[in-house]
Amino acid sequence: MSAPRLEGRPPQAGPHTHAPRPRLGDMALVNIALLPAALWAVYLFGWPALNLLLVTLATALLAEAASLWLAGKPVRPHLSDGSALLTGLILALSLPPWAPWWIGVVGGLFAVVVGKQIFGGLGQNIFNPAMLGRTALLVSFPLEMTAWVTPRPLFTEHAPSFVEGLRITFVGLPDLDAVTSATLLDTAKTAVDQGGTIHGATGELFAGIHAFTGLTGGSMGETSALLLALGGLFLIWRGVIGWQVPAAVLGAVALLATVFHLIDPDRYLHAGHHLLSGALVLCAFFIATDPVTSPATRLGRILFGVGVGVLVWVIRTFGGYPDGNAFAILLMNALVPLIDHYVRPRIYGRDRRGAPLDTGKEGGR
């Protein structure tokens, strides 16, 4: 082959090569890691759960597409980055499975439009979009957002049929109280608030194995700690997320819970209850690890995770809401710029304050 003509080509800056592009990007892997828990939730809560999931996902994607189109950005490449799908999926997993369709629509719109696109789109938002959506829903529609049904797995006796499922999602439940039940955290909070002890309240309701597998009431993705933790470990193994944040979140909750449970077992749930119930595992592995809204350094991420864990425990124990993951995440999101300002690696040849190191030569080998 003859010499190529290089003249007239635009100069290129280095580096002139790049790490191999993985077949599946980070977003895709996170979506995949959440899939088992999502499918399990659909199985446990039946057709209404699937309807709500699909409505939420569709809303998130449509809201993203519309926002991109309005902003004059290319729709297809941004839409296919998987971030809107992930926001929709995490939001759906944090909703009560039999919630009406408009919960998914309002939540999806709020999360994507207000939570993300108004800030400038992917990578620009300060707060986790899904948690912003969930919080807006919880504050605005507390009744619908706390109607937990007990699991009725598909194709079992008490499961709603496909048509009933459509009615539950799109028309509304005829009698909400008939099918709902309190979650463990609800029960514990009510019992303590009324001056009782948590033992009597949680004894028959809670069996660890049920929380682990998901055979308990709760939002779609709160129920199976096992599948969520497996998904999270898969992400750590693939290098998508670091171990620091999940370890910090779970560790902080476990430590606080253990210490206080030892002090007063009647008033404070023990660590196992805390770790396996509510959305804590989902939060630790999939929400607190959102790179956009967490600090840039390892130490910063550990601080962030500890902060989330402490806030979750404090809100669960002393706050007005039974579960505090979304609030904890949003509060810590707001601190991320501060953490990133103060927690930075030491620069080569400089001390922690940024002054050049001493040149003293006596240290030669």
């Binding site: 290089l6 280095g14 090569t17 790490a19 592009r21 980070d26 080569y348 080998r365």
Partner: protein, 505 residues
């Protein structure tokens, strides 16, 4: 066992070294023309000392070094000087650089350079002087005049000489082959340099992906406690000066300082070989070993190449291109320079010429930063590339500077690892340029202000002197007028008195 120290961050690009690492160094046939730039090094360009039409011998001085930081240039082959002209430089800009064009006659007559009988018995300054006159510059790529560095080590009381055999850039194997094939000569050069820099010990750092080179060098250095060969972990950018010093001594070069201020001087293995040739064989630096590689090249290999050989001759000698290269580089793919044409010459700092295919370049569309922080993990300096880039995107260069922009060594690890394909190094180079330009502009305005103030002072002084002189003149005039009037009065008085006397008489 030698104690190694860790370095921060770094990446593992695919090495692509095997196509050339297994082949011996070959000699490139002389090209028809050699274009030898007079500015191949950091510092002042050399000045041409030959005339068009003149015959030169191989190794004859054709450009003499100018000033303290500079290097002379010698004829890479015997032949006729056919032009001294501005020709495209081996630089992305392709801007012209004054070059001496030589048509080799093939005789390869050598200019006569005396060699000392025993360099190790010479005064260190005399060795540095030899090195300087041989036109030796850092062959690792930076092309800093080596004699200046040796003298820095000597005057700074260096205790350690580090010889960099890291060769951490992918594709490049010129140092690897040199160490395998000419280990004795390299070690001899190291001994001379250790003597010249006044160091107690010479440490030769070689990445552990080059076991044959490590073995050959260890054998050549056996029995000499002052020269140690150290295998360092293979991790880009281990071969960068700061990282090599850190890995071997555990110390960091303080920001804004030179390694000599730590008592450490660092030279490339190729430089050590050039020193050996200059002091043992009387050969100035007129050729070097160059890796010709990249996926677009039909038969990649290493050549010993006369300085001034056009890149095209190197690729032709490798059987040309197997496919159209996406780009041709001088140096490795991480920090190498994009070349504007195949007519530009090999210079002293050319470690390799690489023709990459589009598949090797892996250029992908840029996506938004999602703050995944892989760049933070990869940065060997401890910077926050994502934060600096977000400041630079807003043209806030001062904020980027506060985050440590000027400490960036432009190694490219952050860009390489970025899953959103953001050209981070490009951002940083641009912002560094902006900061430099701004500082220059500030200096210019403050200089102008100073000049204006001085002028004002001068004008005021002149006006004052003028006024004083005018006052002086006025006073003198008045005094004269008064004197005149007084004289007149006196004369009148006298006249009156005379008249009175006459009347009285």
């Amino acid at each position: 066992m030698f104690r190694l120290f860790g370095i921060r961050g770094g990446v593992h690009p695919e090495e692509h070294k095997h196509p050339t690492a297994s082949r011996p160094i070959e000699t490139l046939p002389l090209p028809e023309r050699l274009c030898v730039p007079l500015a191949q090094h950091i510092g002042a360009p050399a000045e041409a000392v030959v005339k068009i039409g003149q015959r030169v011998l191989r190794g004859q001085l054709i450009g003499s070094g100018q000033g303290r930081v500079s290097a002379p240039v010698h004829a890479p082959a015997s032949g006729k000087v056919v032009a001294v002209d501005d020709l495209p430089a081996p630089h992305p800009s392709g801007l012209p650089v004054l070059s001496v064009v030589i048509e080799p006659d093939g005789a390869q007559d050598d200019a006569d350079h005396p060699v000392p009988s025993d360099p190790l018995a010479m005064a260190p300054e005399a060795i540095a002087d030899f090195v300087s006159r041989a036109g030796i510059v850092g062959l690792g790529g930076a092309a800093f005049p080596s004699a200046v560095k040796l003298n820095l080590g000597l005057s700074g009381g260096a205790h350690t000489l580090i010889i960099n055999g890291g060769e951490c850039e992918p594709y490049l194997t010129c140092d690897d082959r040199l160490m395998r094939e000419r280990a004795e000569a390299v070690i001899d050069g190291v001994r001379i340099m250790r003597h010249a820099s006044g160091a107690e010990v010479a440490l030769i750092g070689i990445e552990d992906n080059k076991p044959s080179a490590i073995e050959a060098m260890r054998q050549a250095a056996a029995g000499d406690d002052a020269v140690q060969v150290v295998a360092v972990p293979t991790r880009y950018p281990m071969g960068s000066e700061k990282q090599m010093v850190q890995a071997l001594t555990g110390r960091e070069i303080p920001a804004g300082k030179l390694s000599a201020q730590l008592g450490v001087v660092l030279h490339n293995v190729g430089t050590a070989y050039a020193v050996h040739r200059a002091l043992r064989q009387g050969r100035p630096l007129v050729s070097r070993i160059v890796t010709v590689g990249g996926g677009a090249v039909r038969e990649p290999r290493n050549f010993e190449v006369p300085i001034g050989t056009p890149l095209k001759a190197l690729f032709d000698a490798c059987g040309g291109f197997a496919e159209t290269p996406d780009r041709v580089l001088m140096g490795g793919p991480m920090m190498g320079q994009w070349m504007p044409s195949l007519e530009v010459p090999v210079v002293k700092g050319t470690s390799g010429v690489i023709a990459l295919t589009a598949a090797e370049v892996r250029k992908h569309p840029v996506q938004p930063c999602i703050r995944c922080s892989r760049c933070v993990e990869a940065c060997p300096v401890g910077l926050l590339p994502l934060e600096m880039a977000s400041r630079i995107r807003k043209s806030d260069y001062d904020a980027a500077g506060k985050l440590g922009l000027t400490d960036c060594i432009a190694c490219g690890s952050c860009s390489w690892v970025c899953p959103s394909n953001i050209p981070l190094v490009h951002f940083f180079n641009f912002a560094k340029g902006e900061l430099v330009a701004r500082r220059a502009a500030e200096e210019r305005t403050s200089g102008l202000r100073e000049l204006a103030e001085k002028r004002q002072v001068r004008l005021e002084k002149e006006a004052r002197i003028k006024a004083e002189k005018a006052a002086q003149r006025k006073r003198e005039r008045q005094a004269r007028a008064e004197a005149k009037a007084a004289a007149e009065r006196e004369a009148k008085k006298q006249a009156r008195e005379e008249q009175k006397q006459e009347e009285e008489a």
